[in-house]
């Protein structure tokens, strides 16, 4: 029985029958059916797949898919105050220009010669992020911040040969699920309590939980709930005194104005590149970096590729290549390598490099300042609404903050539904993930929000809550 294929398809040059005949003749075969001879008859499909009819032209494909996508309401159509790990920032046109270049877009795993530009762009990304966080070694990034945090913890567990990690109590519950799954069964994850007034880490609880089993203490700046954790040095010192490693997750968009974790004792820094010139893409823009000092005991624990610079045989040329390749699962080691390496998020690394080089030191400072001012303004104005606390915690925030609706008599769900009708995506409802906070929403304000956007939010909420 023959199933029959799609002849003369634009994506398949050799679907032209004359060419097929010529090539088959070369192979001594009569028809395409003579291929796949190694697959046993009982495993071969006897009829064609039951798939929808394909579009008959590129025009029809595009028209249909565009119509389907137009069912979405985007963050351009609506004013968006959602953050929670994926943030709406301005994406400079050049970022899209570069990551849309077909050479970068279609490259994969070429060598240091034919992909010289890819190696250099990734080396530059590593070097630029290293300056931003004032650290020495940065990886070719992994999937997202959650994976970067999970791998950082696994690295710490291998370095210390210990089996427990203490994790900040205000961590994103989705990220926690990822870390727990990735660390199971190698590392046990315990949460540290947080202060109900400030949101900051409860150092007494940290002290009580630190032990000779503690491989690492993991916390974040700014925290998932948006406030700045200013006890970084104390936390790192306590971790170090217990023989543990201090790991800090960071939002890189804050680092024009906030001290990088290397300045308060972090041994491993991780975070997400998405805010650095990458579109949200419904969550498809995440990309996780990991960074350490240039010490062999840290470097040798990275599962990721690390591209380094080196001379070539010709004076004056920069060359690039893999540092300590054999530690990876791509090296000689397979299951004895450090975790595993595969296809992660290199295109976003190149993009983040482009972004940082465009922004420069001043741009990153101005970005940070803008976000500080806007979020303080939003907190102030929201606090003027009856029953609303602009910020649940009395700490200073960066970019995100917890808006407390407990005294409004309305749930966040009800409020968000009303906001949606007014063309606004309200902040993430925290009532399920943080039941102890009651009815609170996590709001995000960045440089893309104009005063009029914040005012519209405030006026809409006033209308919804005060009637």
């Amino acid at each position: 029985m023959t199933i029959g294929g799609f002849k003369n398809h634009p994506y398949i040059p050799n679907s032209v029958e004359e060419v097929q005949k010529e090539m088959l003749k070369e192979l001594g075969l009569d028809s395409l059916e003579d291929l796949h001879a190694e697959i046993p008859e009982e495993l071969k499909l006897k009829s064609k797949l039951n798939l929808p009819e394909p579009f008959k032209s590129e025009y029809e494909l595009r028209r249909n898919l565009e119509q389907t996508l137009e069912k979405n309401k985007t963050c351009k159509d609506y004013i968006n105050f959602l953050g929670a790990g994926c943030w709406q920032h301005y994406v400079p046109a050049i970022c899209d220009e570069i990551n849309g270049r077909s050479e970068f877009l279609t490259a994969y795993a070429g060598e240091a010669y034919n992909d010289h530009g890819r190696f250099q762009a990734l080396f530059e990304y590593e070097s630029l992020v290293a300056e931003l966080i004032d650290m020495d070694v940065v990886n070719v990034p992994t999937y997202d911040w959650a994976q970067a945090a999970a791998t950082s913890i696994r690295m710490a567990a291998r370095i210390t040969n210990r089996k427990e990690a203490l994790v900040v109590g205000t961590i994103d519950r989705e990220k926690l699920l990822i870390i727990k799954n990735y660390c199971d069964p190698a590392v046990n994850i315990r949460l540290i309590n947080y202060d109900k007034e400030t949101g900051k880490m409860d150092l007494e609880d940290l002290k009580a939980k630190l032990s000779e089993n503690t491989a690492a203490v993991y916390f974040e700046n700014p925290s998932f709930l948006g406030f700045i954790e200013d006890q970084g040095q104390e936390i790192s010192d306590m971790a170090h005194n217990a023989g543990a490693i201090s790991i800090v997750g960071v939002d890189p968009s804050s680092l024009g104005v906030l001290a990088p974790p290397s300045h308060y004792g972090a041994d491993i820094i991780c975070g997400d590149l998405q805010p650095l010139g990458i579109h949200m893409n419904y969550g498809g823009g995440q990309s996780g970096f990991i960074s350490t000092r240039d010490e062999e005991k840290f470097v040798m624990e990275f599962p990721s590729r690390l591209f380094g610079v080196a001379p070539t045989v010709k004076e004056g040329e920069y060359g690039f290549g893999d540092i300590a390749y054999d530690r990876t699962s791509f090296g000689n080691l397979r299951e004895k390598g450090k975790e595993f390496v595969g296809t992660h998020t290199s295109l976003w690394a190149i993009t983040a490099g482009v972004y940082l080089s465009l922004m420069g030191p001043k741009g990153m400072y101005e970005l940070g300042q803008n976000i500080m001012q806007k979020s303080q303004y939003a907190i102030q104005e929201l606090g003027k609404i009856k029953g609303v606390k602009g910020s649940r915690f009395n700490s200073i925030n960066f970019k995100e903050f917890v808006v407390d609706f407990n005294d409004t008599g309305k749930t966040v769900e009800e409020i968000n539904k009303e906001l949606l009708k007014r063309g606004i995506f309200g902040g993430k409802d925290l009532s399920k993930d943080f039941p102890e906070l009651g009815q609170c929403g996590l709001y995000c304000v960045t440089e893309i929000h104009l005063k009029e956007d914040i005012d519209k939010l405030v006026n809409s909420l006033r209308e919804i809550i005060e009637g």
Binding site: L32, T68, E111, D115, F123, N181, D184, E296, G308
Partner: protein, 445 residues
């Protein structure tokens, strides 16, 4: 201009006859798919938006799921894994949770894989705490059945395997392998990185697998992006749906929704919903081909590969491990052992020389089980003229190896740079992973 110049110094797959990146399925990435995926209706979506405002992308994810179910025979897909290796990690996580639920987690502490499956099939389960048993190939290149039989026991948690393996050889007894594992109480996990030659020809389900994954950035024509973001679409049989990471996309009463109701879920492997723009590109590709198109893809991928196989072996320096007279599916791992013995030129040397002709090839993962390897996978993308050019170029270089080996030893000559001095890369005192470290370590007094 700096980054544009760097892009020009990157060969990429579009302007390269990219036959040489075996196991990676470097096919043409249709421009229209990229165009659609870069529209704001895709790029400007926040992952936590109300479901009523993301019906378009959820519809596309749901419909892609339905297509992949049909292509594989599985009952439900998740798009959370961001690449093949993360999909393997997800499979290993499901294996652990499955045996935990059954009270057999402690007892089942081994996974079995094969030497010509991807290194991640060993490394990702090891990351999940499993001991790894690797089955070597028998004299004909198939995974050694007797060794496999001896390895399967009440300690077997799962079998992780690619088929065809990275040699291009299809294990025709695969059903016997999966049956053995099933009888012993283990799960069968299929790495379908090499699925391009099998679309519409044979499926995971009929071969006895409980799970499988596809690389959307390989088989389904989404671009590789210098190494991601990709997509590792993972499918499972209905018995395992409850174990999937949350959420999956559902459809009820005319609405698409995110289904968190999975009571044995392993939790989560990637933030939010994976890489939806990659799913969109995969869907666009499937919908431009349909069932007959996918079948043509598999047939032409096999035709191109076996044509290359036959023509390349016309040179005395190149051979294949195992039998020459059995067809490979979509790729072949070749060996230049004889050429190296005759001339002293290695596969690594030739690899550098290929770049002088605007082409590229990949040797193999390490360690080299096949001596002096080359792994080539033409896919359905190249024309016959492309294939002939590639063959001519390799033959030309093989001739050079016999006639003028010096030119190869000193290659590349016409690439962007010359041979890199790699001596610092494994030396902690000298390596320079960032510019600041380079400046520090090379400081002149």
């Amino acid at each position: 201009m700096h980054y544009l110049r760097l892009s020009q110094e990157t060969l990429g797959a579009d302007i390269n006859v990219e036959i040489g990146q075996g196991t990676c399925t470097m096919k043409y990435n249709p421009k229209v798919n990229e165009y659609i995926a870069r529209k704001p209706e895709m790029t400007e979506l926040h992952p936590l938006q109300d479901e009523s405002t993301v019906q378009g992308i959820l519809e596309i994810m749901y419909k892609t799921d339905l297509c992949l179910r049909e292509i594989s025979g599985m009952d439900q897909f998740t798009f959370q894994p961001g690449g093949g290796s993360q999909a393997i990690l997800t499979m290993a996580s499901i294996v652990r949770k499955y045996h935990r639920e059954r009270g057999e987690e402690e007892q089942r502490d081994e996974i079995i894989t094969t030497v010509y499956s991807h290194p991640s099939d060993a490394a990702a389960p090891a990351t999940k705490g499993y001991k790894v048993i690797t089955i070597m190939a028998d004299e004909e290149g198939y995974p050694d059945y007797e060794a496999f039989k001896n390895a399967v026991s009440e300690r077997t948690a799962a079998f992780f395997v690619a088929n065809p393996e990275d040699t291009g050889i299809f294990n025709s007894r695969i059903k016997e392998f999966t049956d053995l594992v099933r009888k012993a109480g283990g799960l069968n996990c299929y790495d379908q990185a090499n699925a391009n030659g099998l679309l519409g020809i044979t499926r995971a389900k009929e071969a006895g697998f409980d799970m499988c994954f596809f690389n959307l950035h390989k088989t389904f024509a989404a671009p590789h992006g210098c190494g991601g973001p990709g997509g590792g679409a993972l499918g499972v049989t209905k018995e395992l749906i409850d174990y999937l990471p949350k959420p999956i996309v559902g459809y009820k009463d005319g609405k698409y929704f995110l289904n968190y109701d999975l009571d044995k879920s392993i939790g989560k492997v990637r933030l939010f919903n994976g890489v939806p723009q990659t799913v969109l590109k995969a869907y666009a590709w499937i919908m431009s081909l349909g069932a007959e198109g996918l079948y043509e893809v598999a047939k032409v991928a096999a035709l191109n590969n076996n044509y290359l196989f036959k023509k390349l072996l016309e040179h005395k320096g190149v051979d294949v491990p195992y039998r020459r007279d059995i067809q490979r599916v979509e790729q072949v791992r070749y060996t230049l052992e004889k050429l190296t013995q005759d001339t002293g030129i290695t596969s690594g040397d030739i690899q550098r020389r290929v770049m002088d002709f605007g082409m590229h090839y990949w040797t193999s993962h390490h360690p080299y089980y096949v001596p002096e390897p080359i792994t080539l996978e033409p896919t359905e993308t190249p024309s016959k003229a492309d294939l002939d050019e590639y063959i001519n170029t390799l033959h030309h270089i093989f001739d050079e190896a016999y006639e003028n080996p010096e030119i190869i030893k000193k290659a590349p000559h016409r690439s962007t740079i010359h041979q890199v001095d790699e001596s610092s890369f494994d030396d902690p005192e000298k390596w320079a992973p960032t510019w600041r470290v380079y400046l520090r370590k090379t400081k002149e007094d």
